[in-house]
Symmetry: C2
Subunit: 145 residues, 2 copies
């Protein structure tokens, strides 16, 4: 009996991504589920933007390109085909919810630092994904060195 | 290959518990994992307490007894033995973290309503469990009628 058939794993592109990918890959194998790899690029305007008019298109393009390349490298490493790799631009929580819904995902996997206090107030991706998700959410605890 | 060996499922005693239990049972079977059923009774003092001196011992005892009975009924229904049923008193998040640590749990399963906005600010058990957990946390999305 398998519980999940269509798993989405959303990663950032830090050195912590492999921990989440290992777990996701292992779960997809255990459940015989399809695994889709997602990375959400935040619009550069969110970080730099507003008051000073600038053309950020080129920077955004560079970020998108870097994200595609990194995701392709992970895809190779973890045996996730090009069709199952998605790079999208937007707010991580909203994009992950949208993709999970569009793809009829039954489980979304994200990394979590399990931080307390301030981090709880500030919110985190795991927290944001948990709230408002229409499917189950697995938060993989990142082990710090 | 199995990813989880020691799964804890924490339930409230509402009509939503079976949705969480079904998923937990199915996952434990898929992974060949041990499954422990947990319910945390909140101290009645938290709800009623402080200003007016009252002896709440009897009320607390009644709540504990009811929780044990309800958990035993679920245990029967889902094939979880008495040894693997735990009723404890305290703050749900803290108790769940404590038990997960003491028992070397590798996955904690809780129900989640996936609410947004206010609920996010107020916090929820799923949210509280996510933050500060030393193991992975699976939030099972409760399907409303």
């Amino acid at each position: 009996m398998t519980t999940y058939k269509n798993i989405l794993v959303a990663i950032d592109l830090t050195e912590e991504a492999p921990q989440v990918l290992e777990k996701a890959k292992s779960l997809a194998q255990t459940h015989g589920a399809q695994l889709t790899l997602i990375h959400v690029v935040e619009p550069v305007g969110y970080a730099y933007g507003g008051d000073i008019p600038m053309d950020l298109t080129e920077l955004q393009d560079q970020l998108d390109k870097a994200a595609h390349e990194q995701l392709a490298a992970y895809g190779d490493q973890y045996g996730i085909s090009k069709d199952q790799q998605i790079v999208t631009v937007g707010r991580p929580e909203s994009e992950i919810h949208r993709l999970a819904k569009e793809m009829n995902g039954d489980l979304v996997i994200v990394g979590s630092h399990g931080r307390k206090g301030f981090q709880l107030l500030l919110g985190s991706t795991a927290n944001g994904v948990l709230h408002g998700s229409e499917c189950d959410v697995l938060a993989v605890r990142i082990q710090q060195d």
